[in-house]
Assembly symmetry: C2
Homo-oligomer: 419 residues x 2
């Protein structure tokens, strides 16, 4: 990608109508555009980060046998009335609208009811189970307030997975498999050390549900982490009974602010009883299906990573989700400099390295500031001086020391670092 | 993909509540699920077709310098009031809803107004132009009726591109480039011969807009095609003036039913004048930006292809968008047959050939019927008989003759046909 062709531009000044640091930086760097509070468009650089996060999640969901599909935003009232969740007093984040004939319909804020309905024609026998399906879907939630940038949106990207099993034993096995897949996702996103499996309040079927909480100063939650055991307890279930159950004491816990990046629910047979999702077992008896629901906040994760890793110069992306791995800053319009830069650009691309090539005729200071603000992991500087020496300057976004390397040295170095 | 693991199943009976053949077949084959009239979820096989279509479009849009981004479903009233398009009497397909504080908001049925607004911070000088951006977005349109399956949905997938230029000359060049890209898309989708650039009514700025219409018996439009010139005229602009302008006579035209699979609009400076999108030219003068808007109906295309190519046995997908290239039907649970089938499955996958492996323990007739209904381009049969001879049966979906080929022969043959 060449800077001269990129539609967006960076801006020095933080937007006046944003208090959340993630939104401020992402708007300044040209990654997102605010439509209204809690509603953001994703510009080319921002969409790249989203797609990179989705790729990691998709690989892990496929690895545990998940099948991708996509459900709808428009939701029929009838399905939700069965579980009482159509009622605005029960669910307070519905956006509702009307068809031309006056029929009231809703906009999907989650997709449990429709997925259960969709499973009905495909599940009749125990041989049809287990089922494991997932989607990447835009969720619409009518939040009262929305001041956290892309960390809590009214319109946001989510990955949600739904599993159906014959019984608690099969369910538990799948549930643990999804937990492990989630752990791998957060490790691959560079959040492994700071993301805790957190015990939270369960539904009627289980005492606990599980959340994945990432330690983050601007998060909306408070959790109590147990570093040694690598678990945490949500404030809402922190009592003596929980502590005893987990075999820990109150003084081993550390109170931190966090953001809920994923959650997992075991519905047991509650929802399939409500909605009549059954199968016939080996003996020919009718049984209710065991259901699980699992969600990762895709755009929220982007916001959390932006908040957590940013420094005073701007964003800092882990290489695996950055919009480009290298920011190639050409500091002169001199023929030799252009030639050397173009060659390096082509060589890197041939090796599959994503490069953002700053080929604009602007001051060096502007290029360095943009490279930092955009948070690209590696910056390479090609100038008249580096061309004369035959060695260009390579610097990691998070380090202050440079390396001076020739063309081949740069390619070799980049092959050894990150993905 | 293995049939035994696929979440969906085929069904013999056409759904009672569908009159459109595309929806009937796609539901029977397990590609889509009806949520309500005009609103369909895309199941794993259906999503694969959608993603394959999107890949072709994305490649062509990137090739002409398009930059991908994604806008939002939730739309603020203010932007649309400027162009009068918030008014339900002007635009009759709005879905509208309300924030908690009572603010009325809309759901995106197109994205011209928001993209113009979004361009403002990034366009100030002639050096910032041209701009060419596109998205794949779920559009929500409150259609009065919706009985054409995925050929006219209330919720559907669209690829929309927007261009901004300094003047009519630059605009025309880009406009023609998009037209050429669209032609390539339809060729790659196998619709080249039956898709006509069609002259339709323009806005205030141009006499004509251009549509791409695909000849289709169940289409909602009527066009007059000129086979020799490879153009068509929409009923609404068929008059002597148009005929004269295009240098054709009425008796050279053939009246056909068609479906509008894409359209292109030249807005000139109309919309940028309304919304005040300007740039400064080389002389320092303020000028209005020239705008173009271009859209391809992604899910509609899937419906049109389903309608057009289907035969009495079911769907027929072109290889480049089929959910798999090969349907591998294993006709026995015998150890040798399983071994041979597994080997063929692995060999094909290693070569990057997408295979749907029917490893279920069901009758051969069921497997053949499913292969036909799902419309997979090639079917391979492995049975005790074919294992004994060392040659398995390969048949194209649209042919009745078989080929008998050994393992290597199959791999070689598949490498030569389609993509």
């Amino acid at each position: 990608m060449k800077a001269s062709q990129l539609f967006t531009k960076t801006t020095k000044n933080a937007p006046a109508n944003e208090t959340a640091r993630n939104a401020q930086l992402l708007i300044q760097a040209g990654f997102i555009h605010k439509e209204m509070a809690g509603v953001y468009a994703f510009l080319p650089l921002g969409l790249k980060v989203i797609e990179n996060i989705k790729t990691i999640i998709r690989e892990e969901m496929n690895a545990i046998g998940g099948q991708e599909l996509i459900m709808t935003s428009l939701q029929a009232r009838e399905k939700w009335e069965v579980t009482t969740r159509w009622n605005d007093d029960v669910v307070d984040v519905w956006f509702k609208t009307k068809l031309k004939d006056g029929t009231e319909i809703g906009l999907g804020w989650t997709h449990e009811e429709p997925i259960i309905e969709m499973m009905k024609p495909f599940i009749s026998s125990y041989k049809d189970l287990p089922v494991n399906v997932y989607q990447f879907q835009t969720k619409l939630r009518n939040e009262l307030r929305s001041k956290s940038g892309i960390m809590r949106g009214r319109e946001f990207f989510m990955n949600d997975m739904y599993t159906a099993s014959i019984d608690a034993t099969q369910h538990d096995k799948i549930y643990n498999g999804v937990m492990d897949a989630y752990v791998r996702v957060f490790e691959r996103l560079g959040l492994g050390d700071d993301t805790y499996v957190t015990f939270a309040s369960g539904g009627s079927f289980t005492k606990f549900s599980h959340e994945f909480q990432t330690v983050c100063e601007t998060g909306e939650d408070i959790i109590y982490i147990h570093r040694k055991k690598n678990i945490a307890i949500n404030e809402e279930v922190l009592d003596d009974e929980t502590l005893q159950k987990l075999g820990i004491t109150r003084d081993e816990l550390e109170k931190v602010k966090s953001s809920e990046v994923a959650n997992i629910f075991n519905f047991g047979t509650d929802k399939s009883e409500q909605m009549d999702l059954t199968y016939t077992d080996e003996k020919g008896d009718k049984k209710f299906v065991h259901l699980g629901s699992y969600g990762i906040g895709v755009s929220r994760l982007m916001g959390v990573i932006a908040e957590k890793l940013a420094d005073d110069k701007g964003l800092v992306w882990p290489a695996q989700i950055a919009p480009a791995k290298v920011y190639l800053a050409r500091l002169s319009e001199d023929v030799e400099v252009v030639k050397a830069s173009d060659k390096l650009y082509d060589d890197m691309r041939k090796r599959g390295i994503e490069v953002f090539y700053d080929d604009r005729d602007v001051r060096a200071g502007q290029k360095f500031a943009d490279a930092d603000l955009m948070g690209i992991p590696y910056r390479i500087v090609v100038s008249e001086k580096t061309c004369q020496s035959g060695k260009h300057e390579l610097k990691a976004r998070t380090e202050s020391d440079n390396k001076m390397l020739d063309n081949d040295g740069i390619l070799e170095y980049l092959a050894t670092v990150g993905s």
